[in-house]
Symmetry: D2
Subunit: 293 residues, 4 copies
């Protein structure tokens, strides 16, 4: 396929960085970090901080520009990070998060992600799509993304996950997105992907956990249906929530119509969650997320 | 208190009626009903019908004007209702639903209902407020509504419900609204009030059933909180849902702040549910509601 | 491309019809129409009526099933329609509205429409896409829709519209959708397409009419941006509104980011408007629309 | 009236401060400010920064605690503020903004503000209500707020504004809220109140400026109506927007019903704008607002 939309200009944000950090809360963190940025000739363009009363952790995200190299900036920050027991990451602004998408037969979430990535509104690279079915292969081909058919049966599940892990290693994958992937990942894989895998659940969690949420919603007669994008954990449908969306429905909608209406909010919630993760706006605070947006 | 807002002009809708009905679905219902209306010289101003595939029931609501008296119109409709095994009600448009409100200490839902009733946007009459505490008595007095303090302890619960029933009988109450009333009604009372009592639950049901829903919501890290107005049943928090509202929240809100934000959506969901009930727009379809709005 | 999603089963709703009508309001309309339906052995599954106080018109939409043929049902209805000076249409439920989509370079609205049509949630057939540019040809090809490149310059505008009219005639087009088509249609074409052409305007009309609405919105500092789907009239941006959607934004979004966020609400508003039109839920009441949904 | 809801515990946030500042953007601002906070033994609990590309200004808001006195903290900040040409303000967290509310005959916005102030969710003190009519006097009395009846005619307008100014001076008023006050303030008063007066406009600005916006909205057939809270400027309906809210409506609503529905969103938008202003979350960036919330 030819380019629908021109790509981001290369190097458009050279010299722009995003820093995220969390550490035990105490006085002086912002001052120490800003001292490093001053030392790196940095200029802050957007920043937010938050101290969590529940966990006693402090969270910070800074977008800044600097004439210094990544290594130089990193070195300045390293000097202060140790003293505060920080978890921290420095990202180059222009660098897209390498993302593998998994799907099954439903294509609406995949279609949204691929279109937005192509349009330039989703700062990710997508070097692979993995599916346990072949239905979505044409869509992957249209967007020029390599499609990997990895079928899963109870007997081959371990082998399938081994192939997935090999693919992730080979392609240097940073983020896995489950875009209506209808297989449950093993506990080991969930643990290994902690904080690096986003799932879309087709209900307004914690309502209607488990199977067939739209049928549950219809039976219960709710007046709003929703979707939830969350980090994957081994405790199914219980991972930290990143984004939720709802849509109003009425009595005349069947369960099948709820599913059709819901596909729209699923795509939106997932796209936003992926965007914010890729912009390094989401930090983990125990079982909750801090979203600086 | 003097009148903040002028009352509805008396007789403004004389000769206007609202008919609601439900019956087993079969051909010819609309034709038979409209024949009665033609016989009563009726002119339809707004109408809606719905056939429920799940329960096989047909639902209809008609607003119409007619020069005939209530008794004459009623008589025309009686003639067809029997043949279709209809449940049906004919309401005079100007007649306000006699409503008793129950509350405890939190006044936000009560305040919303009283203000809107006074403003003329809620077509109910409120001849009594019942509470197990005295905190809201000044608010009741301000709006000129008799306040009945009926304390409840485990020992006096039966006696308290007897007083409530006596009050309802004396005042000819058609609707009971639980506006953050923090006592659980007995199964017998719930059964007797079936379809005539509306509760506001401070969560987006079925999420966070039971106690302290805002604390549950905070702990779970949801990104939207909500409120649910539903008919009361003996199965707590499981009654037919009439209306739900949500509001977006973020990580920085404490459970107490969620409760403050939520009070706004509670008031809105409850007011709408009461309005639609009072306008005869809500019909019961098993455990679900049909809302013609 | 292979089928992503199985098509609707042929004849799935054989014997299902949708009737829409409008006429001067007076008593007896519903009764006369329902008599015709009884005569046609019809069973109403969903219906709504509305009398407009402003224009004195009555509007009605009925979904019903009948064992009779289209011609037989049509004949029964014809017998009553004349007496009430009705504008009316009888549609077979299974019959998809033949829709021509026009676009320019932005593909998000086109992509949404094509995906949803393929997924079966949009009851239209799309026999042609017309564009004044070639950028979206690959997307059309992927969905197997013939793409017609009709360039437009001030000199060739009349000729381009002639080609469009010829194409519409040849393909028996019932609905034209302007999915971010960046050319203004001539007054004559607008008049000829009255009630049969839907445009998406990228603002919350009537705010920000005219060019570059997201730049206008950014300069004004609004906190919500929106999109408006409306019928095309020769009075630009003033046609009857079918659907509007908004999304919350904050001070940190640039005009370009507003445009990116807005593309999501544009697609949603347009898709809903097309769906409701195709389901025969939209009726014109002067410069306003009645939407029975 | 007795207390509906217990007041905030006195001194609950002793030692908590909020700093807001804006200045020309350049490197080192955050570092210099945080150095002052470190010098004042401050601990940051919530903070946000933003650099505006349009105006080249930098904006910062910091909530922090410190064992030092207000004067000591103020002195530390003064030392750095001059070097950056900052506009800045230091607020004690427990100190409520002294607010005068103006209204005319419609009480819904006033009722919302008074109820929320009493409930403790709106951090303002309300030492006076001013109205050109007596209709809302009972509501003011119920909440124990002195009510000042200042009639306005073309002849007495200057005299009325003089009384208002005298009252503001006497009561040390920091914020004026126009809660559906139906008189236009003079250009001089608008200028003097710049950034200190909030109005609620009953439309989704810039749509439907001027008189009778709900009638305009009805005539135009919009599908969403809204309300806009903005700072007052002499350029009517053009002041910087703080908050906007919308609500969905359909064809069946009359202009009067739109006004009733709209009163709900008016109250919400105004209450939020007042809350954010009182929490020092709103900063002016030319004709736009930065809202750190």
């Amino acid at each position: 396929m030819t380019e629908l939309i021109p790509p981001l200009p290369a190097g458009a944000r050279t010299g722009a960085y995003t820093l995220t950090l969390s550490c035990p809360d105490r006085p002086g963190i912002v001052h120490a970090v800003s001292a490093s940025l001053v030392a790196a000739e940095g200029n802050i363009t957007e920043s937010a901080q938050y101290g969590s009363p529940e966990t006693g952790s402090f969270f910070m995200r800074v977008e800044f520009t600097s004439p210094r190299s990544y290594e130089q900036v990193h070195s300045e920050l390293s000097a202060v990070a140790g003293g505060f027991s920080m978890s921290w990451q420095l990202h180059r602004a222009g660098q897209r998060v390498r993302t593998l998408i998994m799907a099954s037969k439903s294509g609406h979430c995949l279609n949204d992600l691929l279109f937005q990535q192509r349009a330039g509104t989703l700062p990710v690279e997508i070097p692979a799509i993995v599916s346990n079915h072949r239905d979505l292969e044409p869509l992957a081909e249209f967007y020029g993304v390599p499609f990997h058919h990895i079928p899963v049966t109870p007997e081959t599940k371990q082998q399938a996950e081994d192939r997935l892990r090999a693919l992730m290693a080979e392609l240097d994958i940073e983020l896995v997105v489950l875009a209506r992937y209808m297989q449950i990942l093993s506990n080991e894989l969930c643990a290994d992907l902690s904080g690096r895998a986003i799932n879309i659940h087709h209900s307004f969690l914690p309502s209607f956990k488990g199977a067939r949420p739209y049928h549950q919603a219809h039976a219960r007669g709710v007046k709003l249906i929703g979707a939830t994008a969350h980090y994957v954990t081994s405790d199914l449908d219980e991972g930290p929530i990143i984004e939720q969306e709802v849509i109003r429905v009425d009595h005349a909608r069947s369960a099948a119509q709820l599913a059709a209406l819901g596909s729209d909010v699923e795509g939106r919630a997932l796209s936003k969650a992926v965007q914010w993760h890729a912009e390094h706006r989401v930090l983990l605070d125990g079982m909750r997320t801090i979203v600086f947006n």
